[in-house]
Symmetry: C2
Subunit: 100 residues, 2 copies
């Protein structure tokens, strides 16, 4: 089955789930974003490395910006030009390891 684009209602429902705490829609674009802060660069890049391993395995990659202890992540699905279940899954994974 081809990857489906989330409907606006599905987006709203996904973002309301406790597992997606901290994520919000990007203005003017069908994407979600979250900013995460860590103790220092070492911790931030350690986090990024865990996400990178997940992302490359899932073949679904984040857009992200890092400066020192801060990481800004944006998720969207190129293939559907919007949000898909892959973004929800990656956002959940990010929250899981962020809260560890």
């Amino acid at each position: 089955m081809a990857l489906q684009k989330l409907t606006p209602q599905e987006q709203t429902e996904a973002l309301a789930r406790p597992e997606l705490e901290g994520w919000s829609l990007v203005d003017g674009r069908e994407a979600i974003k979250r900013t995460l802060t860590f103790k220092d660069f070492n911790a931030a890049f350690g986090f990024m490395t865990r996400v990178a391993l997940y992302a490359d395995k899932a073949d679904h990659h984040p857009e992200w910006f890092n400066v020192y202890n801060r990481v800004e992540v944006t998720l969207a699905t190129h293939d559907v030009q919007g949000l898909s279940v892959r973004d929800v899954e990656l956002a959940k994974f990010i929250n899981q390891i962020y809260h560890q």
Copy 2:
């Protein structure tokens, strides 16, 4: 000796060196930037990991954005509110491993 801010002439000289090929000044800010592209995300993140190890050892960190195979790096030195020899050294290291 405290870290010195590069003078405009030193900046120009540094950017003219072949080792700093591809780097340019950021508009409206004392910083340098370069965009690098790789075969895929795996190669891009492998590069970022090498830079991260260097950066954390040198205690001098990049600002960077990554999406899939593209990495946009910005370098500046917070302590001098501008460019220092640390940025030149990090830019040289980045070019070295990029050309490998």
